[in-house]
């Protein structure tokens, strides 16, 4: 179906900016960096562990937008800045657009304000009359419209300014695109704000931005995150997808930055669920086939995926994983980011390239062929909030845009008046990071080695180690985490057959509930593998659960945990489930000749969905197209098993 050039493109850009983005990632090189553990071992040793992740799980959001993002501003956020985003993340109250006082119940440990690189800060700077844009023709024209509150003309010109030819890799705006000096000014403002809020040991404030490529309505967005401080990051300039919308171009530019400054940077994809299968397609954007060099480059720049956020969860899809009853979770699977409907006959192909689990499986097949796994990614969550408020708690959720902040209207209105229903937004997620300390460097390095996991909101503490020698008694050890590093690898790591043992890999897993949240239902291990016939397989194992429930011997299904949710009161009780689950699990079907990955999914007991809290709070009827309760969850980064050729 063809649209007019202008309409097609107009929609693309409206949607890009209005819908925004989330995060995701990819995998990385095969480093199996073992942590040395520095836990307290002698009486004279007064230091706390300094080079170990045995104790430090940090919580943060690597994907929040401020008024510097074109869509955030034009959707009503004229005032809230990156400063507000950092203050909010640190636990301070801010005034929401509705006039309500918004505050996190628990502060975050780190934050990246990732404004869209395309037209970065343009309207905000015109409003503020700074960075020289006020002297340009564009600046003067848009200022007069802004003064008349005539955003329509601005948006019309902005959207209409893009080249109608979406098939080319570049889509240069036809209006006066601001010059490099302007963007340097805006970038300096971004860097300076992060520096001001960075407080090593207490709070890490990253510099970065979002590269917002959409190819034919397929979401290819990446958040770019820098490890470095101002002395290096000021040497960067945000890469805009208007220069070139192929991620390979972005990676080249990131490499330029590293060469020039000696700094370090990564890209984190998100909303693969809205990529129409392109994010983890087996084809490059240029149409070229994958080769070893491509695979190496990709995993070098994209070690993690932001796989849960406000625009849905990208772990698994019921059509691809029909035997997993928990795969149907906060799905946004009807369209791409441009609201193009996915055709029935394309669904399998589209979802295979859009969800993390099938992508991890595809990676095994690609590795078999190329020798390198380009999809060897770990998993994190973030919010993609466009109001600066990084909220992922169902009972304290501020939505995506100004119009999805708490109000009696948001159960029934649409994003921007015309897009998706706000009620299908997901109250998710955050990134959990095992790092030796709370600093930009330590957190960045943990992301790079994939010692990270994703949460849909609750701060469930999850440890996951793989090895060959774990046994049940290890779990009884007070220093089990130290043993985890000593005898195995943490989440994000690799297992190989290191000797000629016939043993199957063993996994030591502990999960503890969010201290302020709901009890846990179960711990699951998701295994994917490439079988001897070259077929990709998956299996979900329940490995630990609460309440002495039984597994049905016929179906193998674990009895459901039940529900304590009172819908009209929007409450639940921790009378079911448990505070802590721990196990050592051995793969019962291990074949040492086959590539495999294993990741952990931990489910909470059912709790009210955010829409249920709203219905109670504002005394409204609940729309029947959203669930009343959900099982919030965390997803670990995988541990991979790779056979060594004999």
């Amino acid at each position: 179906m063809k649209m007019s050039h202008f309409g097609r493109h107009g929609l693309t850009f409206i949607f890009v900016f209005f819908l925004s983005v989330s995060l995701i990632g990819c995998g990385d090189q095969q480093e199996t960096e073992k942590q040395d553990n520095g836990s307290v071992s002698s009486l004279s040793d007064q230091r706390l562990p300094s080079k170990s992740s045995t104790d430090g799980v940090y919580w943060g959001d690597l994907h929040v937008h401020s008024r510097l993002s074109m869509d955030s501003f034009s959707f009503g956020n004229r005032m809230m800045t990156a400063d507000d985003a950092f203050r909010f993340a640190k636990g301070e109250p801010v005034e929401a657009h509705t006039g309500a006082t918004a505050q996190l119940k628990k502060p975050l440990d780190f934050l990246l304000v990732s404004d869209h690189a395309e037209f970065l800060g343009v309207i905000a700077s015109i409003m503020d009359q700074k960075h020289g844009i006020e002297k340009t023709e564009l600046g003067k024209r848009w200022k007069s419209w802004l003064d008349d509150d005539n955003l329509k003309s601005i948006i019309q010109e902005w959207v209409g300014s893009f080249d109608a030819d979406t098939s080319s890799s570049a889509s240069k705006p036809k209006i006066e695109y601001p010059d490099e000096a302007f963007f340097k000014g805006v970038w300096a403002e971004i860097v300076e704000t992060a520096e001001r809020h960075n407080d090593p040991g207490k709070f890490s404030a990253f510099s970065g931005y979002e590269w917002t490529s959409m190819i034919d309505g397929d979401n290819m967005h990446r958040v770019v995150i820098f490890r470095d401080g101002a002395e290096k990051t000021l040497g960067a300039i945000p890469v805009s997808s208007t220069e070139n919308n192929d991620p390979e171009y972005l990676w080249e530019r990131l490499e330029d930055y590293e060469k020039k400054t000696g700094g370090e940077v990564l890209a984190i994809p998100h909303n693969s669920n809205l990529s129409e299968g392109r994010m983890y397609s087996r084809e490059r954007v240029s149409g070229a086939a994958f080769d070893t060099q491509y695979a190496n480059t990709r995993i070098r720049w994209e070690p993690v995926l932001e796989m849960t956020q406000v625009k849905g969860d990208s772990e698994a899809h019921p059509l691809i994983s029909p035997n997993d009853p928990f795969a149907d979770f906060e799905r946004w699977d009807e369209t791409d980011i441009n609201s193009n409907v996915i055709a029935e006959d394309k669904k399998v192909m589209v979802y295979t390239g859009s969800y993390a689990r099938p992508a991890l499986k595809t990676g095994l097949a690609l590795e078999e062929k190329l020798g390198v796994n380009p999809f060897k990614f770990g998993m994190i969550g973030s919010t993609d909030s466009h109001t600066v408020m990084a909220t992922a708690d169902s009972d304290n959720y501020y939505g995506k845009f100004v119009d999805s902040e708490p109000s009696p209207e948001r159960l029934m209105n649409k994003m921007g008046g015309i897009l998706w229903n706000n009620r299908i937004l997901t109250a998710a997620g955050y990134a959990a990071v095992w790092a030796e300390e709370n600093s930009r460097e330590a957190i960045f390095d943990a992301i790079k080695r994939k010692e990270v996991y994703a949460t849909t909101g609750p701060r469930i503490v999850l440890r996951f180690f793989g090895g060959w020698d774990f046994d049940e008694t290890d779990l009884e050890q007070p220093d089990y985490a130290t043993l985890g590093y000593k005898k195995g690898v943490p989440m994000g790591g690799d297992l190989f057959v290191a000797n000629d043992k016939e043993a199957a890999p063993r996994f030591m897993i502990t999960a503890s509930k969010d201290p302020d949240g709901a009890n846990l239902d179960r711990v699951q291990v998701v295994k994917g593998w490439l079988d001897a016939n070259g077929k990709l397989k998956e299996q979900v194992y329940d490995v630990a659960w609460s309440d002495a429930r039984v597994v049905d011997p016929k179906t193998g299904a674990l009895q459901p945990v039940g529900s304590t949710v009172n819908v009209s009161e929007a409450t639940y009780t921790n009378t079911i489930g448990t505070e802590n689950l721990a196990t050592v699990w051995t793969d019962p079907a291990f074949d040492k000749s086959l590539r495999a990955f294993y990741y952990v999914r931990v489910l909470e007991i059912p709790t009210p969905r955010w829409t249920t809290y709203d219905a109670q709070r504002f005394n409204l009827d609940l729309p029947d197209d959203v669930p009343v309760a959900i099982q919030e969850r965390v997803y670990s980064s995988p541990i991979w098993y790779t056979p060594i050729a004999e």
């Binding site: 071992s41 009486l43 004229r78 959207v159 193009n340 100004v402 119009d403 708490p406 015309i418």
Partner: protein, 281 residues
């Protein structure tokens, strides 16, 4: 990837989208009953509605009846807020900025407030202002007490064992500390945590007792928590303190600017309010 798309007809026309977009932002509807332009009526129902919008902070118990139990002070403040908002909205409407639901009202207020803000930029001679601000708002900058400690955890049945291990630890140093006790479900060491942070993992009683310990290399306890018992070695503890201006300069400057903006907004609103008569219904 050439996938056939089904784009709804209505979406094809960009102009239509823009019309919808602007319509969404600026939906107009008329006030239900005519009220003289310069009168503001304060009624129980309107106050309640205003409060419900304003106080929709999550996680709080239902607020429906809060208005009835409010102190006079709170109620007066709320009334003032309501009047102020009403004045600004009326002014904005008078300027033809449109009218609509609460969110639009809020935007209108912000827009007018921004006009005031731009006149409230902190002058170059901010130094004196900042010092004054800091002196009168020191309490806002208080650093909370923080603690860094490591602990050995014992299940509730093992209190005696904890006591034995404590004696052994503080007499000889041959014990392998890492092997003592039981697996704790959270962490072994905590760095720079507030009492609130510690309470989340251990419960309020433990949090308050651990802040009562002094730092040093000796093991102390056993302290009870909701999990069992803990031997604790406090590596570092900092008391709550009021920082110097130099330590919080950036933050204080930011707050000062906010406060000046707020004052300018209030002055602006007060000027406008003189044009209205308030009627308490």
């Amino acid at each position: 990837m050439q996938i056939k798309r089904d784009v709804s007809r209505i979406m094809r026309e960009p102009l239509f989208i823009f019309i919808l977009f602007s319509a969404a932002l600026y939906v107009l509807f008329l006030a239900q009953k005519p009220v003289p332009e310069n009168e503001i009526i304060v009624s129980e129902a309107r106050l309640k509605e205003f409060y419900q919008y304003k106080s929709q902070s999550f996680g709080l118990p239902a607020i429906a009846n809060k208005l009835e139990v409010m102190s006079t002070e709170e109620r007066n403040a709320l009334t003032e807020d309501f009047i102020r908002a009403e004045v600004l909205v009326r002014e904005a409407r008078r300027m033809g900025l449109g009218e609509s639901d609460f969110i639009i009202r809020q935007r209108l207020i912000q827009k007018l407030e921004f006009l005031a803000d731009t006149q409230a930029d902190i002058p170059e001679k901010a130094g004196a202002l900042l010092t004054d601000w800091y002196k009168t708002h020191k309490e806002n900058y208080r650093f909370p007490a923080e603690i860094s400690f490591t602990h050995i955890y014992f299940v509730p049945e093992a209190r005696e064992k904890a006591q034995e291990v404590l004696s052994a630890l503080n007499s000889e140093s041959v014990l392998a500390i890492a092997e003592q006790g039981n697996r704790f479900i959270y962490h072994k060491s905590y760095k720079r945590k507030s009492q609130e942070d510690i309470a989340a993992h251990f419960g309020d009683d433990f949090a308050s007792s651990v802040f009562g310990l002094s730092s040093g290399i000796e093991w102390q306890g056993p302290l009870a928590s909701r999990h069992g018992f803990h031997l604790v070695r406090v590596v570092n503890k900092t008391d709550a303190k009021i920082p110097t201006l130099a330590e919080v300069r950036e933050k204080a400057l930011f707050d000062l600017k906010l406060s000046l903006n707020k004052a300018a907004r209030q002055a602006h609103a007060d000027r406008l309010r003189k044009k209205y008569t308030v009627i308490y219904d």
